[in-house]
Symmetry: C2
């Protein structure tokens, strides 16, 4: 018999979904969006929830053996001093297609001159300017995890060339050319689009800095789908003001929501997407939870296990 606590702002969706599935040997001890309702008397060996809520109750759940995160980003649970004596799985597989929609939605928005044509339309102007295209363009992926791999497959579908920068891995078949430590400049040079998919770790902090931005061509587009910490925000803003790069699309920020007087609001050619790149889809996360639950019961390895040493 397993005891599950659900701690998520979408807890109702998860309950509804799990009730339908009627999982064998699973009892829901508690389901809530409020960490204050969790207390040590609740039996719990399995936890499903949002990292920023879960971090507040970890110390109250001594029996915890497996935690399924509802998000991809679990940095908050990597803080020094927090326990690491349980299996953590995160939501990697779910976000690839959604992040890919985000990336290609904005790349096509720019290439297809969608805003410009819309503005001309408002003035009854027939804008027949030749459209740009993704075809044969060079896309660079900073980090090629499950999200990066999905973006690479979409890029391949649209006839693009894909470069990947990773610590060591080189296993994604849709990446045409891999680069590793010491080859960052070679990786960046000549890119049409730079997509940052790096997790937020100490190693990646501020990796996209003024130097990296200065190596990009003036027509290039920067898209951040990783964590804000891997980007030097000040450097990105300066690169846009100086027209060192053509556009940037930023989804996550050091401070959220962005304060009303933040300079990013007035930075030219910057699109702010207000942390909406990866919507959460409880049904898909619930599918992942189910798959992992069956593995957990059968003592098989879990999918998307987080390595506490790597931080992702």
């Amino acid at each position: 018999l397993h005891n599950l606590i659900i701690l998520s702002k979408n807890f109702n969706d998860y309950i509804n979904w799990l009730v339908v599935k009627n999982l064998p040997d699973l009892v829901i001890s508690e389901a809530t969006a409020s960490p204050s309702e969790i207390n040590p008397s609740l039996p719990c060996d399995i936890l499903l929830g949002d990292p920023t809520l879960v971090v507040e109750v970890l110390h109250l759940l001594p029996g915890l053996r497996w935690y399924q995160s509802t998000w991809a980003g679990v940095e908050v649970l990597m803080r020094p001093g927090l326990r690491r004596d349980y299996l953590m799985t995160n939501a990697r597989g779910v976000f690839g297609p959604l992040m890919s929609e985000f990336v290609f939605g904005y790349l096509l928005f720019i290439e297809r001159r969608i805003l410009e044509r819309y503005q001309d339309q408002n003035n009854h102007l027939w804008n027949g300017k030749v459209t740009g295209s993704l075809r044969n363009k060079k896309l660079g992926l900073l980090g090629v995890g499950s999200i990066g791999a999905y973006i690479a497959s979409t890029a391949r579908h649209f006839g693009m060339q894909v470069k990947g920068y990773t610590k060591t891995s080189s296993s994604c078949v849709d990446v045409d050319e891999y680069f590793h430590e010491g080859e960052l400049r070679k990786f960046i040079t000549g890119l049409d689009y730079l997509v940052n998919c790096l997790p937020g770790t100490d190693e990646t902090k501020g990796l996209v800095d003024a130097s990296v931005l200065s190596w990009l061509p003036a027509h290039s587009v920067l898209i951040n789908v990783g964590r804000g910490s891997s980007l030097d925000e000040q450097a990105v803003s300066e690169a846009l003001f100086a027209r060192q790069i053509a556009y940037a699309i930023l989804d996550v920020f050091e401070t959220e929501p962005l304060p009303f007087d933040h300079s990013f609001w007035n930075t030219p050619n910057l699109y702010i997407t207000s942390h909406t790149a990866a919507p959460s889809f409880p049904s898909e996360l619930a599918e992942l939870f189910l798959e992992n639950y069956q593995s957990f019961c059968d003592q098989r390895p879990l999918k998307y296990l987080v390595d506490f040493n790597k931080g992702y």
Copy 2:
């Protein structure tokens, strides 16, 4: 020995490309953007060119055996009374990926609320509204030729369900369900997106009419990548004013450019793309020409042969 005439607004690109390839046994008799420079004294068994220019010189080229169109749409050459005693090939294969960029660029523009977020950004507003997604949506293709098939493959990549409406064919592996004559209403009902890829023939004229539009759900999006004639423009405008459908994206029109006082400019939720959906890429067309030239010399069948009886 073969004699080629190039008649295209991009004739310079084609010359440059063909000179590099140095095709065996091929002589360029003339290359121009002006039909008036073509006269019957020019030897010509092969013609490469834009349909609206070619239609003016067809009668001057008795020796013509094969014409490679630089466009997909060749309606102008289907007019009654024009000769049909030559092989015509068109530019089908080239446009699939480009049309797919167009379709998915606009679908993502809408789903991702890109315009709304941009407008909020101008007011320093953090717009964290949940984004829409293509995932699990139903896309219907009116016509599944090479362009439709490519759009189907992109839809599949983004996790969508694909319905196809065709005269008889049902060969595209990325279409989940096919519909044929007599099943139009069943095909349309429940679609999230309707993509019209029909060629401009007598049979397809005005097919997307008030009835078809009334069967679409109120949240649906209509995208036209086919010829304007298969769409009842007045009915589309009325459906948008009446909010029978949520959005329409139209690229080609009965009258182009649209007159300044045309009602489409003020139609709500309509995006006008001013005949830019498929940019012409002379290098890719030249590749197709080369492939067909080799087949022509070897007396093998040509790729993308137009059937004068069908009109495409």
